[in-house]
Symmetry: C2
């Protein structure tokens, strides 16, 4: 994006530019579901969104995130008719922002037990856990190699959620 | 906010709840100007906003942030007719979110040299610098005592900005 000076922006402040891209009620919800829910197809993102994102909104946000370089899209290798969405490195580097939003919300807002269970693991693990999870995302989305750990962060988050809904 | 179950929310997910409060184009701009610009009065926030926030929008966002417990308001001790806005501890703990948005924007979006200068200092200093700055904010907004350092983070950020606009 650095060289794209054709966008109309309110100012060249980095916080403002980030908000112009992501400062709405849905963009980070879509990224959350891709990152934590590992949802990579349009239908999954539409049908499993807790907040019931409207179909046209989801299509719009996926397109904007792709244009901004946060997501990439390609035919799914295992199902050619389907489009597979992947995080780019730029998208993966938004993870700390989501993790901070999660930890702050957990501490100060009326979070439900079920949907707060993963947030507790994230908050307790802090930056080292976040770095591990970002490495897992690089393996899943960019095909990067990663150290095989005994149990992945994704599995730990999923287990915390399952424990909470039981 | 923890006990306030009367709000209509889309879900109890901590990321969603944080977005429902802060996921718009202006809330974090107002917080940015309070935090980095040290603007504590309505007129300062209105007149010096780079993005030219409309007056009714500023009033609305200040009220929402106060109701959410992110800001507090009180008569200015040095000028009783004026209202002074202060960050609460809950507001100060949003700082890492802004710092990440700043660093990410600096890396990936078409940031201007002038408005990116402070972001470079923030990104280079990382978490230790952020913690120091949060301590300064606690001193400025909550009256907390702090270690007197040779030069404050606020001064360093300001100097970087002045160097860039020269």
């Amino acid at each position: 994006m650095k060289s794209d000076a054709t966008l109309q922006t309110r100012s060249g402040c980095p916080i403002n530019l980030t908000l112009e891209l992501l400062g709405d009620k849905w963009s980070l919800i879509v990224l959350r579901d891709i990152i934590f829910g590992n949802r990579r197809h349009f239908r999954e993102l539409l049908n499993h969104c807790q907040e019931k994102i409207p179909s046209n909104m989801l299509a719009n946000r996926l397109k904007r995130l792709e244009q901004a370089g946060v997501l990439s899209r390609a035919p799914d290798p295992s199902h050619k008719q389907k489009v597979l969405y992947s995080l780019t490195e730029q998208g993966i580097e938004l993870f700390p922002l989501l993790a901070h939003a999660s930890s702050w919300g957990l501490k100060y807002l009326p979070v439900s037990d079920e949907l707060g269970a993963r947030a507790q693991v994230l908050a307790a693990g802090g930056e080292p856990l976040w770095r591990d999870f970002m490495d897992e995302l690089r393996a899943e989305h960019l095909g990067a190699k990663r150290d095989q750990r005994q149990i992945s962060v994704r599995e730990r988050l999923q287990q915390a959620y399952l424990d909470a809904v039981q």
